[in-house]
């Protein structure tokens, strides 16, 4: 019989199919490649993007010229615009405001064919470092309530370009999914005076059946109420609400965990399309006691059908214990 599992933070129920669980070979992985000569993110094509916001580059090279190792540019088709006021208005019972925000692209490497399968730990560290730098800079803008850092890889995951990149969106509101997590964590804290994520991590580390990888400061695990097959979260073992606060040593440790976990996922599943998202505290940090930043990785193996859309109630054909076992067994080297 399938099992219903409840996410302790968002209170979302998931149907977990326990019998004859699907293995990594049971999903057909589809990748669509775009042409390289038209790629605006490759070295030498710097003029085809808006002027860069920052870059890590060789000494003595100029901005918007070749010689960079990682580059951050504004999105050419931004979902939100950086200039302007919020201009909040209501029409009857409807509320609206201007779409003010930042939308940036982090070009992770000059190598068009780069990916987590070939990235060195140092390259991943550069990427994490860039996320932190941009986060801290944008957090100073008082109009922004939340900064969302995410990666879409593969067209089935929503990426329109193959060149390895991630995105950052700073929003003037706290997105709904984040608000739900914050509310769930707040309720738990009022009841127990403990962070719900710290408790989850404690329970996962002691039971061990869903742990995929760990080092001194971070743990990667398959969450108890995983919505998707092979869904994986990475969380710091020590309580910290905001991703923007992490120190250099933690950045290194996080990069090491992300590198190892992504390689395990890519090798086990045959490089599927995926999304990952950093969940961090809203900019005001009022929830510092009870929120705990983490990264959620979702390989895109199944199609989300009407039932999931309409109900917010997911069906997962791979129990997280089974997914964790496969991933733990796969070598990350």
């Amino acid at each position: 019989m399938p099992q219903l599992r409840k996410d302790p933070v968002t209170k979302r129920w998931v149907i977990t199919i326990l019998e004859n669980p699907k293995g990594p070979k049971d999903f057909s992985v589809l990748r669509v490649e775009n042409k390289q000569d038209s790629c605006p993110f490759c070295m030498g094509k710097e003029s085809s993007t808006p002027p860069e916001v920052m870059s890590y580059r060789e000494p003595n090279t100029l901005p918007n010229q070749p010689g960079w190792k990682l580059r951050v540019v504004p999105n050419r088709y931004p979902a939100l615009q950086i200039e302007g006021d919020l201009d909040r208005t209501g029409i009857g019972l409807y509320d609206m405001m201007n779409g003010v925000g930042a939308h940036e692209v982090i070009i992770e490497t000059p190598d068009h064919h780069g990916s987590f399968e070939v990235f060195s730990v140092e390259q991943v560290f550069k990427i994490v470092n860039a996320y932190c730098d941009r986060y801290r800079d944008l957090k100073r803008d008082r109009r922004f309530r939340y900064i969302l850092i995410f990666k879409n890889s593969g067209s089935a995951a929503g990426a329109s370009l193959d060149h390895p990149h991630s995105q950052l969106i700073a929003t003037p509101i706290i997105p709904k999914r984040v608000m739900e997590e914050v509310e769930g964590a707040k309720q738990y804290f009022y009841y127990k005076e403990r962070c719900v994520f710290c408790d989850i991590i404690r329970q996962e580390l002691s039971s061990g059946s869903r742990v995929i990888h760990e080092n001194e400061s971070f743990v990667a695990f398959a969450p108890f109420a995983s919505r998707f097959p092979f869904e994986t979260w990475i969380a710091p073992k020590d309580h910290k609400a905001s991703f923007g606060e992490i120190e250099e040593a933690e950045q290194e440790s996080f990069a090491q965990t992300l590198h190892a976990t992504m390689r395990k996922l890519m090798k086990t599943l045959g490089s599927p399309p995926f999304n990952y998202i950093i969940h961090t505290s809203p900019c005001d940090e009022l929830c510092a006691d009870y929120y705990h930043w983490h990264l959620e990785i979702m390989p895109r193996l199944t199609k989300v059908a009407g039932f999931e859309w309409g109900s917010g109630f997911y069906v997962n054909p791979v129990p997280p214990e089974v997914a964790a076992r496969y991933l733990k067994q796969t070598d990350s080297d």
Binding site: K6, L93, Y94, G158, P172, P175, N275, G306, S311, F313
Partner: protein, 333 residues
């Protein structure tokens, strides 16, 4: 400038991005029906023995169960996500909660012939499908273990495995999260205003008809103010009705008409587009009847949901609902 709009019930913000101003022809998704299998279709008349035993069928007098002679047929799903047998079996595992996946998962075969569907059959056949939903839901509702049910249709390539026109009935032992959110939003509004929020939305839409697709005495079809997806539509009864399953004769006819018109208009703008529709009815309890108002969401599958939307619950919609409504209104049927 993109605009942020808030869904008054779900309190979910959506980015409406008119600069991206997408028209129907700008979407290059998968179109058409799922690929045909070589094996015979189990849903066709004459192949009744290939499916589990029917739980309801409208058939010619004198014909036997599980034989030809039917025009609408409901059967248990061959690989159900919820199973009707057994106990709810609630348990806690440390801080985690789980229970057995008790419920109903059935398939409504909407017509006996393989090429028939809700767009090309006559209105009487659509009405018979609505009657079948209604009759089966009333039966399922008698079981007190089920808290809620959904009627979901996934149609077309990429969202369904079968090309024979069908929908699903799913009854669950919990109230799914998305419905819970709607209930909370509607309840809060009712406590404050002593009015149903959906009734107020209908009044406001009728007052400024820019988002209306179709209306008659009994039903309104419109593109919601904070539409998450391009060409998203909502069908709702004008009068306050919490429960779908106790619909009267006139409303069954009116709903069949509104549904078929909406699907036909969508098909003219977006030929053979895969789509989902989801019925949201009040949970199986009288306690929601003052503030819940049943409705149907129709969502054409045009855009891919990427990491940003998943992680934030914050959607980017490239087609303003006013533009979508105008195109749907003007579609010649």
């Amino acid at each position: 400038m993109p605009q942020l709009r808030k869904d008054p019930v779900l309190k979910q913000w959506v980015i409406i991005s008119p600069e991206r101003g997408k028209r129907p022809q700008d979407f290059p998704p998968e179109r058409g029906l799922p690929p045909e299998e070589d094996s015979p279709c189990p849903f066709c008349e004459g192949n009744e023995k290939m499916t589990p035993k029917e739980s309801l069928a409208f058939r010619k007098t004198g014909t036997l169960s599980d034989t030809p002679g039917w025009w609408v047929r409901i059967i248990p799903d061959r690989s159900p996500i919820l199973s009707p047998e057994g106990d709810v079996g609630r348990e806690g595992i440390g801080m985690f909660d789980a229970m057995n996946s008790i419920g109903v998962h059935e398939v409504v075969i909407e017509a006996p012939l393989h090429r028939q569907n809700l767009l090309n059959v006559n209105l009487d056949q659509v009405r018979e499908v609505i009657w079948a939903y209604k009759q089966r839901l009333q039966e399922i509702k008698k079981n007190p273990r089920f808290k809620h049910f959904l009627v979901v249709k996934n149609s077309g390539r990429g969202v369904s495995n079968f090309s024979h026109s069908h929908s699903h009935i799913v009854a669950t032992p919990i109230i799914p999260k998305r419905i819970e959110e709607e209930i909370d939003g509607a309840r809060e509004y009712f406590h404050y205003h002593d009015r149903c929020i959906y009734c107020d939305i209908i009044r406001q839409e009728l007052g400024e008809p820019s988002r209306i697709v179709f209306q008659d005495k009994l039903f309104l079809v419109f593109c919601p103010f904070a539409s998450r997806f391009p060409f998203e539509m909502l069908i709702i009864p004008m009068a306050h009705q919490p429960f779908f399953e106790i619909l009267d004769n006139d409303h069954v006819h009116g709903f069949a008409n509104a549904l078929q018109i909406s699907l036909r208009r969508m098909n003219i703008l977006l030929p053979d587009i895969p789509y989902n529709f989801i019925l949201h009815s009040s949970p199986c309890s009288e306690s929601y009847k003052d503030f819940f108002h049943w409705h149907v969401e129709i969502i054409p599958k045009l855009t891919r949901v990427a990491g940003f939307e998943w992680g934030s619950g914050f959607y980017i919609n490239p087609t303003p609902p006013e533009d979508a409504a105008q195109m749907l209104r003007d579609a010649p049927i």
